[in-house]
């Protein structure tokens, strides 16, 4: 048996200690790493960084591999990687999956991002038809802003918002009130102590909101819900006045029939009279005789049969239409194909034509102006051309929600028919991708047709068009409102991608990034505005619309130094985060420097001959914040150029950098320059001639003076030489006339009162010099309703009427720093006032 376990090891104490320390070392961690973050260093998004390392080997590796990388840029062949000279460890990545555009790095923590989604679609609210959850929470925060005691609630409210967002994926469309209750309970539970109290407080705040309705996250169906709500809200506003008129009309038309009925022989029959009087009264009258009297009377002929039938039909049609104007959810029925929408639109049109025909006839009947001879023929042929504009406005539009996959040839044809026809169909096209492979094989992913439908629709110049990323909620909802109000078809193309695996970007940011990168410029086109294309086409919702690419500032750390650069966001940045294009990107550590590496913005701006041997790159950041220069291929650059050109086209249409205008401007500028140059030359010639003339004259004068001097033999003084006519002496400024000084200003100012001599102030109301309060509790313990502490725990007079003047005086006497001023008594009937007022004087 081994005895090594029970014998001390043969080693000196010094070695023992050393070994002990070594053993400790194996467990040890550096202090800085294991200590929690300091209190003044709350976690903030860390800046991207470039490590402070020697870039020499990296630059050399790039130089050695540059030809191979160029080959890759031109061919996108990934086989070149096999023959590359090695890069330093970790400095080269053939895949950019997991990397993020440097501009988006600040937003990488989706949980901490507050944006316009989830969206609340309030029910029965007169003020709003949509609100973002953030606005709802901000409203509460604003209400609590001044309440120091509610600071715990302010923090908790943001947690409620986060919880609701976490709940939403499973509860999309659930009512805010229900989600709020769940989130409030969860936040209360998180808080540990006082959990139920906090949950109750939060639930009470939820109840105080005054709005409720379904809540939708950034999901593909959100735009459809939002459009439905916009339509419903608009419809309610539109029909409010008409609904009231319709009620009156129904009463009046029913009245005609009721009056006719009252004059009919049936109404005069003995049985009817008997029924009208009831059992008790009928015995006293001879109703048969009374009936025969009535039958022989004049005016009992009743309505002509044709008129009665017409009015009955009108009443029937009016009643059928009445349901549309009494809170009917008109937008609930959403078509999902163009053909379906056309059918629904036709059906709705015939329903409403019948209805409005009835309205027209009813108005004439009520006014007793219906002339069968003329009107019968007219109303036989009643069609939509006979409708008044305000009546056309009362036909609810048909909403059609489309996805690009359904757009086969037949549907695309039907869509064009809708957009070019005089139909009130509002088409919502929800895009979740821009790229397709036309032949389904190995060709490069290219921008598909669906993404261009909006611009195509604009060229029809007939339909209202909105295109925008769904992330731009403001632009989208404004577009929905305008499109619904437009009397005709509308197309809303919204980029609302689903969360998907091919990109690490949250769906909301992906949608916003599409707008930034010009893949999906936000615009509206309103054909109803007749004041020119520049007004019809509105690009205001596109960020930095005057620029080719939007620029933003990026701050990163280079070693210890903070560096800020301005970066454009281009389609290349967008595509670099789409896994389908991964083969077209390769990343090299951000420290690499080479004059032939060009930022994409500069690469795209340069002329082709200057970039033949250059490589374009965008900046990306890995999970740890390390920066990379990501080189891309010619195919991606070609796509970016194509998208850039499309955007330029939009800009020109919208009146930005318009090439026609530029050409005219250049011409005009050249003309003006020429004119200006001619003017300058004329002036110079003029000046030269003048100069020559003056010099000539001067020469003559000098000669004549010299001659005169010589002749007179007197001393020649320079002063006598008329070198130039003396400038006219400036007229001496008039001496300031002493103003008639009022007697008092002449007298010396009375000396300022000495600082020590302060005015005596009569104190009326009790007060405390709060900043001097030492929080000693003396006054508070005397009367805590009269005195209170402020947020700095310094006392003030909260309500002098909550106590007696005696207490005020007592508090003033007791106050160790004598800062309480009792003022004058509020209650003149308080006993012992005379004495108290005398005491108070010392403190007022």
């Amino acid at each position: 048996m081994s005895n090594s376990n029970h014998k001390p090891q043969a080693s000196s104490p010094a070695v023992e200690v050393e070994e002990f320390l070594k053993t400790l070392d194996t467990f040890a961690e550096p202090v800085a790493e294991s200590l929690p973050a300091g209190p003044q260093a709350p976690e903030r998004p860390a800046l991207p960084f470039q490590p402070d390392e020697d870039a020499g080997p990296l630059n050399q590796a790039l130089e050695r591999n540059f030809a191979k990388l160029l080959e890759y840029h031109y061919t996108a062949h990934t086989s070149v990687w096999e023959s590359l000279a090695p890069f330093p460890e970790g400095a080269f990545r053939t895949s950019v999956k997991g990397l993020m555009s440097a501009q988006l790095y600040a937003f990488r923590d989706a949980d901490r991002l507050r944006f316009d989604y989830p969206v609340l679609l309030p029910e029965n609210s007169a003020d709003h038809w949509r609100l973002s959850l953030r606005e709802v929470v901000d409203g509460l925060l604003e209400a609590l802003a001044d309440k120091e005691e509610a600071s715990h609630l302010k923090r908790a409210l943001l947690r409620v918002e986060r919880h609701i967002k976490l709940l939403l994926p499973k509860k999309n469309g659930e009512h805010l009130s229900a989600l709020w209750r769940k989130a409030a309970a969860a936040v209360g539970k998180e808080s540990g102590k006082d959990a139920s109290k906090l949950a109750d407080e939060l639930a009470a705040l939820g109840k105080s909101l005054g709005v409720d309705g379904p809540l939708f996250g950034f999901t593909p169906d959100a735009p459809t819900r939002i459009l439905g709500a916009a339509g419903q809200y608009d419809w309610h506003r539109r029909v409010a006045a008409f609904a009231s008129e319709l009620g009156d009309l129904l009463n009046a038309v029913s009245g005609i029939l009721a009056a006719d009925q009252a004059h009919s022989p049936e109404a005069h029959s003995a049985d009817t009279l008997h029924a009208a009087l009831g059992k008790e009264g009928s015995g006293d009258f001879d109703l048969d005789a009374f009936s025969s009297l009535l039958q022989t009377g004049k005016g009992g002929d009743g309505l002509p049969e044709a008129r009665r039938r017409r009015i009955e039909q009108v009443l029937k049609d009016l009643k059928a239409g009445q349901k549309w104007f009494g809170g009917h959810p008109v937008m609930a029925e959403i078509a999902d194909s163009c053909k379906g929408a056309l059918a629904l639109s036709r059906e709705r049109e015939s329903t409403f034509l019948a209805f409005f025909k009835a309205v027209h006839i009813a108005r004439l009947e009520v006014a007793n102006r219906y002339d069968a001879a003329g009107h019968d023929a007219f109303y036989q042929e009643f069609d939509r051309t006979a409708l008044l504009p305000e009546e056309r406005h009362l036909i609810p539009p048909v909403i059609l929600s489309l996805s690009p996959e359904k757009l086969d040839a037949a549907e695309t044809g039907a869509l064009l028919e809708i957009l070019n026809a005089d139909l009130n169909i509002k088409v919502l096209l929800i895009l979740d991708d821009f790229f397709g492979r036309p032949d389904g094989a190995k060709t490069f992913w290219q921008p598909g047709v669906a993404g261009k439908l909006a611009s195509m629709a604009m060229n029809l110049n007939h339909a209202f068009v909105l295109q925008c990323p769904g992330a731009n909620l403001d632009a989208m909802t404004r577009g929905f409102e305008d499109g619904i109000a437009f009397d005709g078809p509308a197309l809303f193309a919204v980029f609302q991608p689903e969360a998907e695996e091919r990109t690490a970007l949250p769906a909301f940011l992906r949608s916003a990034a599409a707008g930034e990168s010009r893949l999906m410029p936000a615009f509206t086109f309103h054909p109803g505005i007749s004041a020119g294309l520049a007004n019809r086409l509105n690009l205001a919702a596109t960020p930095q619309r005057s620029a080719l690419w939007p620029e933003s500032s990026l701050t990163f750390l280079n070693g210890e130094t903070e560096i800020s650069v301005s970066l454009p966001y281009t389609p290349v940045d967008f595509l670099a985060m789409d896994g389908r294009f991964d083969d077209h990107f390769v990343a090299i550590s951000g420290q690499v420097e080479n004059e032939r590496l060009l930022p994409v913005g500069e690469f795209l701006a340069r002329s082709p001959e200057t970039i033949e041997r250059a490589l374009p790159y965008v900046l990306m950041v890995d999970e740890d914040g390390r920066m990379f220069k990501v080189i891309t291929t010619r195919a991606i650059i070609a796509t970016a150029r194509q998208l850039g050109e499309s955007w330029r086209h939009f800009q020109e249409l919208g009146g930005i950098n318009n090439s026609f205008v530029s050409a005219i401007l250049e011409e005009e500028l050249a003309r003006l320059k020429a004119e200006h140059q001619a003017e300058i030359e004329a002036l110079e010639n003029n000046h030269r001639e003048e100069m020559e003339r003056s010099l000539d004259q001067l020469g003559k004068d000098v000669v004549s003076r010299i001659a005169a001097g010589l002749l007179s033999e007197g001393p020649m003084s320079m002063a006598a030489m008329p070198v130039a006519p003396a400038a006219p002496k400036p007229k001496a400024a008039p001496e300031p006339q002493p103003a008639a000084a009022p007697a008092e200003t002449a007298a010396p100012e009375p000396p300022a009162p000495a600082a020590e001599e302060e005015e005596s102030i009569v104190v009326e109301d009790a007060y405390i010099d709060t900043p001097l309060c030492t929080s000693c509790n003396d006054c508070i313990s005397l009367n805590s309703q009269m005195f209170a502490y402020d947020a700095n725990k310094q006392a003030f007079v909260k309500d002098a009427s909550k106590g007696t003047f005696r207490q005020l005086v007592e508090a003033a006497e007791k106050c160790p720093v004598h800062i309480i001023h009792p003022g004058k008594p509020v209650n003149p009937d308080e006993p012992g006032l005379e004495d108290l007022i005398k005491k108070a004087e010392a403190y007022n």
Binding site: V31, G38, P771, A791, P816
Partner: protein, 324 residues
């Protein structure tokens, strides 16, 4: 950019502490006690600096003022008489990430705790020590303390004290390695807040003596200062405290004093005609013991246990084998 802005990035786990977050149990000091003003000033400091309560610790000895940790909703250690400083030093040494404050009374610090006080000054460890100086033992019902003025009649000195009071300012400024000494009066909140804030920001051991009224046993001790503000000499400087306009109207007796000048500070400290208030001395360059001796590594109890077990195992006895 991207329909979001960095302003919308929120750290919802980031706490925003209010004054209430630092208020512990209701103070049981007598009403009118100057300790309330010091408590209020310290709570304001914690709020203004947003010190996480779980990262803040108040250590005290014994006395009225030493009830301080009970009234702070932070960590606290109500220690033994005169021993607040060594406890605080131990805490700071082991947990340099904590904000350490010490509250002592004049009896606690200047009598039984004097040795610790002197060496705490010399060791200059990062913390704030506040001496609540009311010149009396209040908790034990009026016994003379080292700072009681000569002639004060108390339960232990029925004939009045015989000796001149200890001058804590002179003691502080006479010890090697002193790095911060300030004097305040609790009844001028602005100056008190300013001084405590500067003490907190000082690198090293910041000692603040606060003259504090005891309304029960020495209610008139500071009357000469209260009734005549000119008996207070406010020491102003751009590197010290700055007198507000309002306070300047009351405290007209003020002079400019550079807190880096220790000789001048000693002069002020030795004056009997006035009470200097402000930062008398500050030198952030003095070495701090806790920084010099800061452990290069930290060890969890589990690590220590594992290492010790390994060492002990070397000496373990195999009973079976020894019997065999």
């Amino acid at each position: 950019m991207f329909n979001v802005s960095l302003e919308n990035l929120v750290d919802i786990d980031l706490e925003q502490y209010s004054l209430q977050d630092y208020q512990g149990s209701t103070p049981r000091w007598c009403s009118g006690c100057g300790d309330n003003a010091i408590l209020s000033a310290v709570q304001k400091l914690c709020r203004d600096e947003q010190l996480p309560p779980e990262k803040t610790v108040f250590v005290s000895g014994i006395g009225c003022s030493s009830r301080f940790p009970h009234y702070m909703k932070t960590y606290g250690f109500h220690g033994l008489h005169g021993r607040a400083l060594p406890i605080a030093q131990g805490i700071k040494m082991h947990r340099p990430d904590l904000h350490v404050f010490v509250n002592m009374g004049d009896g606690d610090c200047c009598s039984i705790g004097t040795a610790h006080w002197i060496h705490a000054l010399r060791y200059n460890m990062n913390m704030v020590a506040i001496m609540h100086d009311n010149g009396i033992y209040g908790l034990t019902k009026k016994q003379a303390s080292p700072t009681s003025p000569k002639g004060l009649v108390s339960n232990t000195t029925p004939q009045g004290t015989y000796m001149e009071a200890l001058n804590p300012a002179m003691v502080n400024l006479g010890v090697t390695n002193v790095s911060f000494f300030a004097q305040a009066v609790e009844w001028v909140p602005d100056m008190l807040n300013d001084i405590i804030s500067q003490a907190y920001h000082h690198r090293g051991f910041a000692f603040v003596r606060v003259l504090q009224r005891c309304p029960h046993f020495t209610p008139t001790m500071f009357d000469p200062l209260l009734s005549n503000p000119n008996n207070i000499l406010v020491l102003e400087h751009e590197n010290g405290i700055k007198l507000s306009e309002a306070a300047g109207r009351i405290y007209k007796n003020h002079e400019s004093h550079d807190p880096s000048d220790i000789q001048k500070a000693r002069e002020y400290a030795g004056r009997h005609d006035i009470v200097p208030v402000g930062i008398l001395y500050r030198n952030p360059e003095v070495p701090c013991y806790d920084e010099i001796r800061r452990p290069k590594r930290v060890f969890t109890p589990e690590m220590k246990e594992a290492v010790l077990n390994r060492e002990f195992d070397k000496f373990s006895v195999d009973i079976d084998s020894s019997e065999g």
